[in-house]
């Protein structure tokens, strides 16, 4: 199982994360945490002039290979999309991109989805749209 999980591409993203960093004065921003291990991730978004298109997105924080690689891949996925598109991005889209089998592994699934969840929270907060069901509770808890 680990051989499928720790594929070359995962290890590559883990060792060389894309979009790692901080955006000062970001338009949208949120902190997420995986209560299982205490890992934290912060995500920063800068919109294009239209205030909708994601022009830049970065993340900081440390975590396991799965969470870091997934967040790194997400950064690539999100750039150029609109806030709305990302807020409605099904989690399976990201999971397919990651391409590792996590269906029997809900604990690691949480790792894989930490970045996406945090990004969605950031976007909903910036837009003032209500958090969808799966994200409720993240609202006050996740945001400083």
């Amino acid at each position: 199982m680990d051989d499928q999980l720790y594929r070359e591409i995962i290890l590559d993203h883990y060792k060389n994360p894309r979009g790692h960093g901080v955006i000062e004065d970001a338009d949208a921003e949120a902190d997420g945490m995986n209560p299982l291990c205490g890992d934290e991730v912060s995500i920063y978004v800068a919109f294009a002039e239209d205030g909708e298109t994601i022009e830049d997105v970065k993340f900081s924080g440390r975590g396991c290979a799965i969470s870091q690689a997934a967040t790194s891949m997400l950064m690539e996925l999100a750039v150029g999309k609109t806030a709305d598109e990302v807020a409605r991005m099904p989690r399976d889209e990201l999971l397919e991109e990651i391409g590792v089998p996590l269906q029997n592994n809900p604990t690691r699934l949480k790792c894989a989805l930490l970045g996406l969840t945090t990004l969605k929270v950031a976007l909903h907060k910036a837009k003032g749209t209500p958090l969808p069901d799966g994200l409720a509770g993240f609202d006050e808890l996740e945001l400083k």
Partner: protein
Amino acid sequence: MAVTTPRKLDAQTLRQDFPIFGHPIHGKPLSYLDSASSSQKPRQVLDAMRTFYETSYANVHRGVYDLAERATAGFEASREKVRALINAPSTAEVIFTRNVTQGLNLVAYAWGLDNLGPGDVAVVTELEHHANFVPWQQIAKRTGAEFRVIGIDDAGELRLDGLDAIAQAGQIKVVAANLVSNTLGTINPIDRLTAWAHEQGAIMVVDAAQAVPHRRVDVQALGCDFLGFTSHKLCGPTGAGALYGRRELLERMSPFEMGGEMIRKVSIEETTWNDLPYKFEAGTPAFVEAYGMGVAIDYITEVGIEAIEEYEHELVGLVLDRLAELPWVTVYGPPAGRRAGIVSFNVDDVHPHDVAQILDSEGVCVRASHHCTQPLMRRLGITATARASFYLYSIPEEIDRLIGGLHKVRKVFA
């Protein structure tokens, strides 16, 4: 899991799923008429729990390895079964508890300590089990709130005409009632109580310990805010129970017990809480028991909740008819048409302890007690009753043996 009967309930066949009936009592066949106190367990539940321990055991949550993932999956699948059983909107609103008592205390403490105060009123009924009576009485006392009791009529049914007077006592903040009385079998009008509670701006807390195992319970149809039940009365193991709570309330509430699993982030300065439902599940849950409760839910669901209700209704009609033939027996509570499978009674001039003791010598198990409803006992002017109660494995022969045993009681005390 193979349950033997699909459609109409065939108790004789179901009974074979329950190993305990293979063991005589004092050389007599076991007539177990104490299911309202606790139900017996089918092989299916016992087998599944054993297999869990033998093949998938590890602490749930936080475990990355396969064994822990399997344990977690079994535990969480059970949460979904509870959700479906009571038609809760989401598993986030299903909290595993030790028993219904703990669930009700959770509400009384975690909601009550922060939401009750002087000028507020907590309302319960005269039919309550102590589990839904004492916590409200005491948390009201601790917070300075008033405590009021909805009375009953002589048939053991709630006097809703007393509600207006109660509303004068102050700002009603919580109404707590059981769905089915464990002593009298009364089926309470929870929908009407809920409507009244909500009119007053109060929350409605339902003790469904005697309802969920025996009849269809739908928290959305009832409209209540909290509803609890207990595994051991539902063919499941001891040590488990569940509490449904409305999300908006659960989110606003402080946690109850604190420790592992229910936190998000702990520092010396402060602590933040995990998502629902984990915020209310501190420490290692009774996860094998919760899993066993899920298997029990599968079992009763496959038998058919409606079939169980219908069957028990037949039995209670039968026993009421038979008891009515004994002029030296007093039966308490409403007529068969308006009661669940529970009958409290007394034999003239014989204490219920002695009734139960003599019945035991005939292999007949009934409970002799105040049934944790002392305020109700006082209302009835007695201290205790003998109580017979049924479940899906109960058979008419057990009623025959009960009646035979009562004749023996009468003879001994003649």
